[in-house]
């Protein structure tokens, strides 16, 4: 397919999005990531039954936390796509990249540089 997506996106593989915990998403933000998104399987098609639904709730929790501390909740997001949808993967990567570009760099890196 030779699809491209922004090189600034770092992919971290997990066996199932159900493995992604709240603290993993928070640590990424804490360490200065401008945004984090979770790409899970389509809802209802989790090999482990409900991993992607659990991830969705955790992403929602982190969104709420970001709002509470005055950061844009859009910096974290959950997407659902099947493993066969290479096109959609690149599309999502670009969508998230553009969203973050609009939001600008993480406020943690601007003020917390010291």
């Amino acid at each position: 397919m030779r699809l491209t997506y922004p090189s600034s996106i770092k992919v971290i593989q997990v066996p199932c999005t159900g493995r992604v915990d709240i603290v993993h998403l928070l640590k990424a933000i804490e360490d200065g990531a401008d945004g984090v998104y979770v790409a899970g399987c389509l809802e209802g098609e989790c090999h482990f039954i409900s991993g992607n639904l659990k991830a969705k709730k955790r992403v929602q929790y982190v969104k709420k936390v970001l709002e509470e501390v005055g950061m844009a909740p859009g910096r974290v997001e959950m997407f659902n796509l099947s493993a066969g949808e290479g096109n959609r993967f690149a599309e999502i990567a670009n969508e998230m990249f553009n969203r973050i570009k609009e939001l600008g760099p993480s406020p943690l890196r601007i003020k917390g540089a010291a």
Binding site: D21, I22, V23, L26, K27, I29, E30, V65, E68, V69, G70, M71, P107, L108, K111, G112, A114
Partner: protein, 222 residues
């Protein structure tokens, strides 16, 4: 177990606004079981506080420690070399935790990170409900396993009151009328007559009405 909810982040941030280095202490007892103050939640709170303070440009150093229980001096003692190294210590245990820590280390400041809510159980993962009021004189057996002290909004021992409608309490459609449940259960079991039996007045001196309580078990005291 004792059930609690984490305080809003801004309230916790306000407690530690003058601190640069803090310790968050979790508890492996009830608050771990109700997913509010165990090692996992300590990690989450530490990360949130660090994010918030980093964003303000005033980074906060946060260390984490979770002990077996904060309601037993033998475990609280494990913190003796640690607590002095911080500007303040946040306890994620129930209300007992920050008090036991304060009593053990009077020179340090301890802040509660959770609001202790009730004695209850999990209806399902993520949902807990009150089941006991800790009144000190259990009467559950009179009501077939349903406690009106904890579960009736008025703690009536001779309900239901006029606010009971369609099995719900007048305070909210979400709240079951426990007296409706008690009466129905008695009817199903054919023991409705139990409720007309005259019983001596309940002894409320064992509840909070008698002031702060203490339990002494002579066979255990050394």
């Amino acid at each position: 177990m004792i059930v609690a909810d984490r305080k809003p982040i801004n309230e916790i941030l306000d407690m530690v606004k003058r601190c640069n280095k803090i310790l968050i202490v979790g508890c492996k007892g009830c608050v771990t079981v109700c997913n509010v103050g165990g090692s996992k939640e300590v990690g989450i709170l530490a990360s949130i506080l660090k994010i918030a303070r980093k964003k303000e440009g005033r980074p906060l150093e946060v260390d984490e420690k979770t002990i077996e229980r904060q309601c037993d001096p033998e475990y609280v003692e494990q913190l003796k070399d640690l607590v002095g190294q911080y500007d303040a210590v946040i306890s994620m245990a129930c209300g007992v935790g920050p008090q036991f820590l304060s009593e053990a280390y009077p020179e340090q400041r301890f802040f509660p990170a959770v609001n202790t809510t009730f004695f209850g159980g999990a209806l399902q993962h993520g949902i807990w409900a009150e089941r006991c009021a800790g009144c000190g004189t259990c009467v559950i057996h009179y009501y077939d396993g349903l406690c009106p002290v904890a579960r009736c909004s008025k703690s009536l021992l001779n309900g239901p009151c006029g606010g009971s409608a369609n099995g719900k309490c007048e305070i909210s459609k979400e709240v079951d009328c426990i007296w409706d449940m008690i009466v129905r259960k008695k009817m199903e079991q054919g023991r409705l007559d139990d409720l007309v039996e005259i019983k001596p007045a309940k002894d409320w001196r064992t509840a909070r009405d008698g002031g702060p309580r203490k339990s002494i078990r002579e066979e255990l005291v050394q």
